[in-house]
Point group: C4
């Protein structure tokens, strides 16, 4: 069970490398086994080239290390808060992928400018408020998670599986590590196209509600028509 | 006959991958055998890495599946309408290639800024009107085709083998699957250079009619001088 | 002798492919043997993957084919005029490399914004006047060469081995095919950095005359100090 | 000892190639053995493909060649001045990496727009004053070093291990050749994201002092928490 989770988490980390989303040891993926509440997460600062499944660190939902000899990713507390607050997600991905990070640094949400966006994100990818000095000087990594959760007070994390942390970078999530990594890759493509779009047309209003609905529900929910039947 | 068409359609799909125009399972190519009116099209949501010619779905011009076990691309109805309305084209390509998509999202036609454009597209690559809520809520994929056809009321699809669907992405076409994929690759390069050009000179007027004529007819029509004689 | 020239011209054409400057069959390189006045040039529209030295077409300075079974590049007449008017150059390269082409399409010379530029180009890379309708409708390819030559009336083609043809794309040259291809690759990098620079600082004045002198003459002329002594 | 230094300097030079920071023979890395005061530096103008450790040139801190048959990099005097003035650094890297160079050409410091920046650079990456005509016409390469040192009069080179030389390009440094090359690679990523950020939000104020502190000291100093314990 944990071996399988570790393998999935490793594979999702490597997918980020293959897709050019991470530089050196940047970025991290975790996955959760909801039965046991155990989380597998990438270790901190280990090069991707020499990483193997046994390096993945197993913790419980309070961050207590259950298995593994290495320090977990320094972003662990953000991942754990998301698992506690968003009970339907099964994996979390954090990268500094360059266009999504630029939107985060600029403090701008990514508008739903087209159907590529609408196929994955049911509305803008929101940016959090700036983290306050108090929150930074306190339990910073945990407080980063709180800023995300506050931003989703009126949003459904299943319908919008990504967020931009202001001045920092994106977090994405999904049902499985592979799904969350897929969302991170698509987010970067969407962020890139949105960058070009706003340069070409700063007044661009983005897709209509009808188009957003049509594309999102084409790929999600009981009436999805995309892909091959299960 | 159909085996050959399937092989050509597969190969054109793979060309999109090699040229970096598609991400994951995005994009699709179809080709038509005008003798029989049968169309071969990429299946929906199948990874390119494991795709083979036998996966291509054969339908008639009304979308009835004639051969193949998989669901066809969800964009099938757009392809079919283009085959019915543009009787001289032999293949259709749809991608979300990033710069062309950005122009589509921005709702801007791509002006003929230079000879690279003029070698392939005899005038701007036009953007459709926005698809209305009624058209989205109705037979959306078919209606997308209608929006393209309306945009070409006064244009020759052979002279301008591409269109931008507003808020969505480009469709291209050509005589054969290879030709249509080639046009899609060039469109992305042209869209990229046009993006840089309008940033460098927002007032740029583009090529003169004389230069457009010279370059377009250098590669097309009875007096073409480019390449080796047949 | 001609075999060697053909091999050099082929190799320079392939360098453009390796460096990402050309798409499909775009671009062409020629070289001249000044002893005999014979020119070797890439054939028109032949894929780079299957190209070999024997495909290079040999012509005299008037464009008469002396050896080779294929049609020469459709830009031959521009190359020949440059050889006749710029007697010290030994090779010509034409590409539609994307950033240099964007500057050409925008009708803007590339300013000498930094030392990378100054190491290769002793002043801005100039853009020609627009080619007139008369010149386009007449002997267009030859007239393109005339527009370049007019632009260099007060410039030294050895000190500025590149030009942007307005609405079209760059031409570069050098002592040898390898040298001209090298200049084309550097021009594209310089055009890319100049694009970013003008976006970051539209008022940027570029390098001082002192810095231009220092860097240019560091790599050129009797007092060059860069690289290993011959 | 010197063999090891030569090997490290070679490897750091090759890392620049692998990461796409250098074109042709651009760029150079050196490293110093602080015990003996001997410096190993890349030779001038040698292609990376054929470079081996024995090509690295050994000089003393005054630039006298102690070992090696080749000319050292033409930027040697800048490297040496940095070693003399910044006694804690162990290696210097110079590249013309494209986005960092664009900021240098634009004469703009790179603001600390986000945590990626703050993880490596404790404040903006500063740009020097323009080098004066007198300094260019005098001992130019040495004077380039002086411009850097002047810019760091009130800055700690360990806390900000990079600088932009106005109109030229970046210099970076670090404890070892690998560390300095790593900083150069991250600087280019940071410069790229900062370019996108300022385009998306020209008024962007960047990270707060609290966030800068938190991220910088997360990776540096006695209380660092990133990575595995030594």
């Amino acid at each position: 069970m944990l071996d399988d989770l570790r393998a999935q988490v490793l594979e999702a980390n490597l997918e980020l490398v293959r897709r050019g989303l991470v530089l050196y040891t940047f970025g991290n993926v975790s996955g959760i086994d909801r039965q046991t509440g155990l989380v597998a997460i990438k270790p901190s600062g280990v090069p991707y080239e020499s990483m193997h499944a046994g390096h993945m660190v197993i913790t419980d939902l309070d961050g207590k290390i259950v298995e593994g000899d290495l320090r977990p990713s320094s972003d662990l507390a953000t991942h754990l808060l998301l698992y506690r607050e968003f009970p339907k997600i099964g994996a979390v991905v954090h990268t500094h992928s360059e266009y999504a990070t630029a939107w985060a640094q600029a403090g701008r949400s990514i508008p739903a400018y087209g159907t590529t966006h609408a196929d994955y994100f049911y509305g803008p990818v929101p940016v959090t408020d700036e983290i306050t000095a108090d929150d930074i000087n306190g339990d910073y990594v945990h407080n980063t998670g709180l800023a995300i959760v506050r931003r989703f007070r009126d949003l459904d994390p299943e319908a919008v599986p990504a967020v931009l942390v202001a001045g920092h970078a994106p977090f994405c999530w999904g049902r499985t590590p592979a799904d969350a990594a897929h969302n991170a890759v698509v987010l970067e493509a969407v962020a890139r196209m949105a960058f070009y779009t706003t340069a070409l047309n700063p007044e661009c209003k983005g897709v209509s509600q009808a188009l957003l609905d049509r594309h999102y529900f084409r790929k999600h929910g009981a009436h999805a028509t995309y892909g091959q039947k299960g």
